[in-house]
Symmetry: C2
Subunit: 389 residues, 2 copies
């Protein structure tokens, strides 16, 4: 169910792609608060800089796919203003109320003429039924649109919803190197609380997935609250908990969809590390395994090559004793005390599943964390060896 | 020219591979000093632990290919002793004078029976002509043997040589995550000086190459000095400089051969970073580019996708201003002030060369460093998706 107070649309702006939806718009006809998290890459795309500075008052989001408007020179900021103004004028808003997001080729000048020319038709198409088109328009090498929705299970009061759409695929890695994510809700939330809930929730979902360890220049996650269903802002207590739980479920679903749709991915593996000395070391260990090309190609080949996992753990920076490591594949006891346990063929069979979980216990402390990753396939190389052709 | 005072041999021990040389031995009939550098992986193979503790007195090196003797349980140390003793007894040495190195599958018990059984024939075959066989026996997924030699250009005195053989390919990454390297010389060098020269030289050669960012459990680099050509130990001064320069050339040649033979590699790219705030940040930047799967697949596709390079630099941890970055491909000015300069087709053409150099200037300080890397190809995935089948 789409939260109340929003409309969306998408058009074929022909900016770089031909004959496909490539320009999307979401507007909050009622607006209460907005928040965002952004890439930590030093090379920050112009729309990221633009939106960072205007996030709190952002009540509309304009997204284009195909051109990242990153590393496009001093003129990039001006093109952001032009795009925002074109939309703002049609909506009777100020340019500062328009958030911008772009995805696509870095370094290619934004086709601003095509964008501006497409805006009138885009605004005209805005409707409560436009969200499917919007979710489609933001994709690049993605193979499927990614959306998720949740009714927030409040004790009382009218029903309220959270809806989200995401764009992912390649260049997915931790540190808010996620992708584009757009979250809408029709509750009202204290702006400061909204910010902190969003960043905590993103940290445990989008920042725990990786496709190739790379970090984009454009990654942005926005949330806009309309307050159309509940105008009394959530300020804490059980209502804040219910809201946070629901937001987590939406972001978790979107982040899993992103990894499932990772470039060339044939297998999805959750890497759970337990028993690390600290939570930080657990994340180091999970990340080293989740990003190791040798491990990821073994996932692709369903090769129960546990030595590569031990080797990745051993260089992760986490402190542990090799002969105390236990590893399970789902409920199969695979490695015990750093040595193979049971039959290798059972492990190989378990790795043939499309999705499974590796639980790694370092038996060296209370620290735990997790990463969601996918395998490295021929298609990953194919897609990325010729992304632009 | 093989340095004086050494003999080598290799045999088919049938430990895991069938009908190929898989067990090699080098002996210093005259011995003056030895030194080594070893993997920093927490999961350290038994032969690494063995050799680390005996390196200073090591006058023979026994190497097997196919089984890493890593994560093979408490018995692994005992099997090291058995192998060393089998060789020592035949050579009239003590087991503590035998250095050990293994490469191959992690977690597979060492076939000690086959090894011990092969030792008599191995020792019998020792000869000054055995070094070609030795270089062959230490390979796994390598496609060619890797050797290098240099005459040390001393001002005076009899000629002296440095010879080396290496085993590399997959699992090559910085932090002494290199491979196996065996260096022989017939000069005499003060043992303390030999250690420091070896580690400095390794840091600037073997620790500056990467194939897939992974770090092995077995990586070891040994040097043995026989003193057979010059028995007066080098203690410093111009002779030490001449020796160090020659050793650097040998290790540099071996490390380049390793990257050239990287699993599935079709292109070799040197990443030179200049103008970083510090040398440390230059290395962070070079490593991020050299290990980025998106960059490496672009190398494979000869895709002049400079945005991926900027994105990798931007997440490297190095501090810089995106619009001050310059990048050259060999002598082609490709990126200036963070923007494309000249024609992209020229860059694409330059990337078709089998070997080229990317010079990245961050224009933010005096720091510089470099990494040597290769591309990610279909064959990389193929080889590593089924290494053991």
């Amino acid at each position: 169910m789409i939260p109340k107070g929003f409309r969306a649309a998408a058009v074929e702006a022909q900016m770089r792609y031909k004959n496909r939806l490539d320009l999307g718009l979401v507007v909050a006809d009622e607006f209460q608060a907005a928040a965002g998290v952004f890439t930590q890459n030093v090379c920050q795309a112009a729309p990221v800089t633009w939106s960072k500075n205007r996030i709190a008052g952002g009540r509309a989001i304009l997204v284009n796919a195909g051109q990242a408007n990153a590393q496009t020179g001093r003129g990039a900021g001006g093109r952001c203003l032009q795009s925002a103004k074109a939309v703002a004028d049609r909506l009777g808003l100020s340019a500062d109320q328009i958030l911008l997001a772009s995805t696509g080729i870095i370094g290619q000048a934004l086709n601003i003429e095509a964008l501006v020319e497409a805006v009138p038709a885009l605004v005209k198409k805005l409707s409560p039924e436009g969200f499917g088109d919007f979710a489609q328009a933001i994709l690049t090498t993605d193979t499927v649109p990614k959306t998720a929705e949740m009714a927030i299970p409040f004790e009382s009061g009218p029903e309220a919803w959270i809806w989200g759409a995401a764009k992912g695929s390649g260049m997915i890695a931790p540190n808010m190197a996620t992708m584009l994510g757009f979250i809408l809700t029709d509750v009202a939330v204290d702006p400061k609380l909204l910010r902190s809930i969003l960043s905590q929730t993103a940290e445990n979902t989008f920042n725990r997935i990786t496709v190739d360890g790379d970090t984009s220049t454009n990654d942005s996650l926005f949330i806009i609250a309309s307050g159309a269903a509940r105008s009394q802002p959530i300020a804490g207590g059980p209502e804040a908990d219910a809201f946070k739980k629901s937001l987590h479920k939406v972001l978790d679903s979107l982040s899993r969809q992103i990894v499932r749709d990772g470039e060339g991915a044939t297998r999805i593996v959750e890497i759970k590390v337990q028993g690390a000395r600290t939570k930080e070391e657990a994340l180091l260990a999970a990340r080293a395994v989740a990003q190791s090309p040798l491990v990821k190609t073994a996932f692709f080949g369903c090769d129960a090559n546990w030595g590569r996992i031990l080797a990745a753990l051993g260089r992760s920076g986490a402190d542990f004793e090799p002969y105390r490591v236990d590893i399970d594949i789902d409920d199969l006891a695979w490695i015990r005390h750093g040595l193979i346990f049971g039959r290798e063929m059972d492990a190989a069979a378990a790795m043939k599943k499309r999705e499974y979980c590796l639980t790694i216990n370092l038996n060296n402390g209370p620290g735990q964390d997790r990463m969601l990753t996918c395998d490295f396939s021929y298609d990953y190389v194919k897609i990325n060896g010729s992304y632009r052709s």
